[in-house]
């Protein structure tokens, strides 16, 4: 894959701003002084060794984790303890988890329409139409009336992506979306994500799929021990890593 999707973002407005964000789990300093500016339409891949704080970082953006110092502003709304602000941000930010987290007691269609109906007050009929069109987009409309337990892992993760898209989010967060999948199912999920990226969705993606990073990322961020160690456009990042820790990490994951 030589095509890079990097495009000119210099004039795009910022949609996520993190300034001096710090977080501790007990005594453990999991995020240390994170500064990050995400432009509209930008695709960012975050990688790093396990325990480096990459998942925690994106989970802070929709307040699944609470940061303790610094500012996070999403679409001009500052994250605070104000429930109204948190709910406003969550309406605009979709999230896909490593373990899918579909609701096992609801059919696929009900999984997709739940939030639009209850959070956005979309009429049921309309929500179902949107849901079906998104299921078609992730190529599993025929599964609409099944339950999550009846689907394969790859199908479940595609449903999870469609579920997040049902809310018409402006930003999508992916937390290791392919790590829990059998190898033969990784591609079907990545294909959906690549398609999404091409449509101009703002994406933050924690993943170790370096092929994906090369194909769609505007920027690759390497994190270690709670810090952003290095960030660069993918060609530069992979060809000429500057930091020793980045080199070690890339050596480990690329040459095995």
């Amino acid at each position: 894959m030589v095509t890079t999707a990097a495009h000119d973002l210099s004039h795009a407005p910022s949609v996520i701003e993190l300034k001096g964000v710090n977080k501790w789990f007990g005594q453990f300093h999991v995020l240390s002084n994170i500064n990050l500016d995400v432009k509209q339409g930008e695709r960012i891949v975050i990688c790093g060794p396990s325990g480096s704080g990459k998942s925690t970082l994106i989970r802070c953006i929709n307040r699944l984790e609470e940061h303790q110092r610094g500012d996070i502003v999403v679409h001009g709304v500052a994250l605070s303890n104000d429930v109204k602000n948190i709910e406003a941000i969550r309406r605009d930010v979709g999230m896909v988890f490593q373990s899918f987290n579909l609701f096992p007691h609801l059919t696929i269609l009900d999984n997709l329409t739940l939030a639009p109906i209850w959070v956005k007050k979309t009429p049921k009929r309309e929500a179902e139409e949107i849901a079906m069109s998104l299921l078609t987009r992730v190529r599993i409309p025929e599964q609409a009336h099944k339950y999550p337990g009846q689907l394969s892992g790859g199908q479940q993760q595609r449903v999870a992506i469609a579920r997040a898209l049902c809310m018409r989010p402006k930003i999508m967060l992916f937390d290791e979306p392919t790590s829990a999948l059998d190898p033969e199912m990784v591609k079907e999920v990545l294909d959906v994500m690549i398609e999404l990226a091409k449509e101009g969705m703002t994406m933050l993606c924690v993943t170790h799929e370096m092929g994906f990073a090369r194909a769609v990322a505007d920027r690759v961020i390497f994190m270690d021990r709670g810090e952003i160690v290095e960030q660069n456009a993918p060609e530069e990042f992979f060809a000429h890593p500057k930091n020793e820790r980045t080199k070690t990490f890339l050596g480990q994951i690329l040459h095995h």
Binding site: V93, H105, Y147, A164
Partner: protein, 426 residues
């Protein structure tokens, strides 16, 4: 690799004949070894002996009708006693000529319970069925109901309020206005009533003669205590369980304190407190019906137990379910009602029904404060000197009736588990 054949290419051989058919089953399960064979024979003989002696007593030598207990002496089971006393056992001291009323009440209640058991009925209609059914039950039992104006207004406010809350986000404007109007009528009415503008009027529905709760007895008492004890105990237990997992320390503390306090005392002591101590704290002249006090004690007690069971269900859910609901922007109420509780309750159906069965039988503890439930009415039937000396028959009969109810609940639990897990295997 030509020597490796896939399963459908390989010729499928039938299992050996000794493993199939009735003989195969017997051999495999009952007579697989000498030890097994001897155990089987010994147990079969024992079962046969027990069964024949029981049938001898209960059927062959039984007396079905007799003028007094004297004619039963020297024979087998004295079912004549049940024949003579069944109305007392079922309806206790309820006025004899009016006993069609508790009978009808029991039928109404059983109809409600059986109707609600069907999953297809689980919708708004059920609320109406229960409202009408409960009203009928109590009207039949009491004979006359006087509803104070204030209570009517309060119900209007409560129903309107709950309607606004539950339907607020999905209802059409016209429907929502209906709920608002209802709540407003209730609220304004209560204020006017408090201010003395409205008179202390009450709606009297009095088709039958009044029968006070002290005269109630038998099966309807057991059914009312168990049904309404659990009907109110269940949502109360859900609230306690949610409160116990709340992030607010005060609410959590209150719920934990209540649960531990109630679980730490026997139901009997709670019933005695409700019947003896509570009146001491009430202002003079004010009294709460004994039956109602017992019901409240049962509700509080079952609530605490149900709460702990539901907490188990809540804790069994993966954290990801909560996070996914949060990430979608659902608020706490929506998350709990749409995502968490439906899953948590499914998990705890077996222990929940187990508790229900336990409470159904525990209602007989109301004996201690002088309420005649089914078992105590049966007990009282033994007091008649004409029929003295046949406790086995009465207790066996009572046990049989309890068994019918408890066994149905147990089977229903099984049905529910299968029904709710259709298609949702993980």
């Amino acid at each position: 690799m030509a020597d490796v054949l896939s399963a459908n290419e390989r010729q499928q051989l039938p299992p050996p004949a000794s493993e199939t058919g009735a003989l195969g089953w017997l051999r495999k399960n009952l007579f697989s070894s000498w030890g097994n064979g001897i155990t089987t024979v010994v147990l079969l003989v024992a079962i046969f002996w027990l069964l024949t002696s029981f049938l001898d007593w209960a059927v062959v030598n039984a007396v079905w009708t007799a003028p007094t207990g004297q004619s039963c002496r020297g024979h087998g089971a004295c079912w004549a006693l049940i024949h003579e006393k069944y109305r007392f056992i079922f309806f206790g001291t309820f006025p004899y000529n009016e006993q069609w009323r508790p009978l009808l009440a029991v039928i109404v209640m059983l109809t409600m319970l059986v109707t609600s058991a069907d999953r297809r009925m689980w919708n708004a209609r059920l609320v109406w069925i229960w409202a009408v059914g409960s009203f009928l039950t109590f009207l039949l039992m009491l004979g006359q109901i006087h509803i104070p104006l204030a209570l009517i207004l309060f119900v209007a406010l409560a129903v309107g309020g709950v309607g606004m809350l539950l339907r607020g986000s999905v209802a059409a404007p016209a429907e929502l206005n209906g709920w608002r109007t209802l709540a407003a009528i209730g609220a304004i009415g209560i204020l006017l009533r408090l201010a003395g503008v409205l008179p202390p009027w009450s709606l009297a529905i009095a088709p039958f003669t009044y029968v006070e709760t002290g005269l109630w007895g038998g099966l309807p008492v057991t059914l009312i205590l168990a049904t309404y004890g659990l009907l109110f105990g269940f949502p109360y237990g859900v609230l306690l369980a949610l409160g116990r997992r709340s992030n607010l320390p005060l609410i959590r503390g209150l719920c934990v304190g209540f649960i531990e306090l109630i679980r730490g005392v026997p139901l009997i002591s709670l019933l005695i407190m409700a019947s003896v101590m509570l009146p001491l704290f009430l202002p003079s002249g004010m009294s709460i019906d004994k039956f109602l006090r017992a019901l409240v004690a049962i509700i509080l007690f079952s609530g605490a137990y149900i709460a702990e069971i539901i907490r188990g269900g809540l804790q069994s859910l993966p954290k990801g379910q909560f996070e996914a609901a949060d990430a979608m922007g659902l608020n706490y109420f929506q998350k709990t009602m749409l995502v968490i509780l439906p899953q948590a309750l499914r998990v705890v159906i077996p222990p929940l029904i187990n508790t229900f069965i336990g409470f159904f039988k525990d209602t007989s503890l109301v004996l201690i404060i002088g309420i005649f439930d089914f078992l105590n009415a049966a007990n009282q039937a033994l007091v008649d000197p004409n029929w003295a000396g046949f406790p086995s028959e009465v207790y066996l009969f009572a046990a049989f009736v309890y068994f019918c109810f408890c066994f149905s609940m147990s089977r229903y639990s099984k049905y529910l588990e299968i029904e709710l897990n259709k298609g949702t295997r993980r």
